[in-house]
């Protein structure tokens, strides 16, 4: 599965992580993304919302995309101008047959395993926008956006430190 389509806003900073789909890595993934986003000086609520959304997407890749196997998960973070954060969670697992259905609240393919079926609903509630692209047998890309409220502190410096943006 390749990532989602490129976006035309100016990129100020980016990061990329690759992890095996082990559930111990859920905590690492969300904390790493939180640390990346911290340069924008977000509120505690904003950080927690992003961490929760990342945790949902990574858990989906571990539980559903790879099921009993271990595969790779790529997590990409980008900071765009105007403090817009983009997080992509990409896997190369089994893919989702019907994305619209999978996004419905309470929908789960594993009701007997205590799956709440609320993963996508939580991502949609806590982020501003969630896009899902998936191909059966190839994998899934979840791309999420959130605008961080600008506050007067070092967060402003990031925009000045990359005056022309960076090529990515």
């Amino acid at each position: 599965m390749k990532g989602c389509e490129e976006f035309t806003m100016r990129v100020l900073n980016y990061m990329e992580l690759k992890i095996p789909s082990k559930s111990q890595n859920e905590a690492f993934a969300r904390v790493a993304v939180a640390a990346f986003v911290a340069q924008l000086d977000p509120t505690l609520d904003e950080v927690t919302e992003i961490k929760t959304a990342v945790s949902e997407a990574v858990t989906n890749s571990i539980i559903h995309a790879y099921e009993d196997k271990i595969g790779e998960i790529i997590i990409k973070g980008k900071i765009y101008e105007n403090f817009v954060v983009e997080i992509e969670v990409i896997d190369f697992g089994k893919g989702i047959e019907d994305v619209e259905l999978a996004r419905q609240p309470l929908f789960t393919t594993k009701p007997d395993e205590e799956r709440s079926g609320m993963g996508f609903t939580v991502m949609e509630t806590f982020m501003d926008k969630v896009e899902v692209t998936s191909e059966v047998g190839k994998g899934t890309c979840v791309r999420m956006f959130k605008a961080i409220k600008k506050r007067k502190s070092e967060g402003v410096e990031i925009e000045q430190s990359f005056p022309g943006g960076i090529d990515k």
Binding site: S23, E26, S55, R115, T121, V122
Partner: protein, 109 residues
Amino acid sequence: MDFEAIMMEGTLILKMKGELDQYNADRYRLRFDMKIVSPEVQKVVIDISELTFMDSSGVGFLVGRFKTARAFAKELVLVCSSSYINRLLSTCGIEKLIKKYTTIDEALS
């Protein structure tokens, strides 16, 4: 994640601390169920106020423990004073299923 179990006159209080995600849900499911089904327990109070993180896998975990208690005809209620976790719980519609209180005292009365 870690938890503390307190027994008080037939009521089992389970205080959870740390992060409740899919990884920890898998690790603690059986341990919680063993305590809940124990014959001296009539009522279960799960206090999640001190969780520093929870996602929908944590919600699934709580619903699972509620179902265990219900299968043994025991009452299970939640205590939560964290605004972030309360928001997650209401997003997932858990309040329709499990009674929720803000303090342990309220849950015990």
